[in-house]
């Protein structure tokens, strides 16, 4: 069992060149070096990655779930922000 004092880290993996790092999960480790090794051992066992980031979970500032209404609901009615009102010419191809 991890002792309560062992810090928590968030793990980000970049799976291919050109893609962004994506959040993969979290783990416990005493410091950054061991966190990176633990991330390698826990999250890249099946060839998932080419690059890893670990970030102390305490460094992340998160939105408050209680603020969901104020933060996110006002966008629900702004359907005109979705680019679905345009006819895309065939020549443009996949966007």
């Amino acid at each position: 069992m991890a002792e309560p004092a062992t810090p928590l880290w968030e793990v980000f993996i970049r799976s291919r060149n050109g893609l962004a790092h994506r959040h993969a999960g979290s783990l416990h480790a005493p410091d950054a070096t061991l966190a990176l090794q633990a991330a390698r051992d826990l999250f890249t066992r099946r060839g998932e990655g080419l690059s890893l980031w670990v970030v102390p979970s305490s460094a992340i500032t998160a939105s408050d779930p209680a603020d969901q209404g104020m933060m996110f609901e006002p966008t629900g009615s702004k359907i005109y922000r979705h680019p679905t009102f345009y006819e895309i010419p065939d020549e443009v191809g996949h966007m």
Partner: protein
Amino acid sequence: MATTSITVQATPLLAYLLKRADDALILGHRLSEWCGAAPLMEEEMALANMGLDLIGQARALYGYAAEREGAGRTEDDYAYRRDERAFGNLLLLEQPNGDFAQTMVRQLLYSAFIDPYWRALMTSPDATLAAIAAKSEKESAYHLRHASEWVIRLGDGTAESHRRAQAALERLWPYTGELFAPEDEALVGLVANPPTLRAAWRETLSRVLAQATLTMPTDGWMQSGGRAGAHSEHLGHLLAELQYLPRTYPGAVW
């Protein structure tokens, strides 16, 4: 139905392949014993990963041995149907896991040797050996890094972790002489020769131990005999567990 043990009429190359494979199998099995017992979930995975790397190396070497022996045997025959005296692994690697410090110190002592060893073997004129070495080196380089980081933290950690790490070092040191036993003269030019790697090994250890504030023990009486099949009392127990199932249920499959 009884399973009979096999006896291998070993040429120098076959003996070489089997002892290097035995090293990997025995240490891999030791690491597998941590499953369900590691101090952290993260480390549980790390130990299992290293164990699987080693068992993979053993399979590659046993597989090549089978090919060279040409007696219709498989990797399983070498792993499961040879008796204790036929195993040629280093005594260091069959030593019990002890506490976490002892496991990590054992891993450091071996990885600091085998990583440059695989690198040297990558230039072997035997293409199969060179390929096995190239694959194994990437794995052992990580094992060395992982074990080094833990030994540094244990040595330079609390008074208790320092005491345990130093005790592990003293306990295992007499088994390190065997790492540098020269290879059979018939293999000169074909495989790397361990005595040439001693300086690099000491340098790696000096660096890690200094950072860990641990003291490198002085070379005294060195244990030997593993390569000749004269093992410590621990290998028989390990093999009993490792070989029990295939010997009790010959030909058992999933």
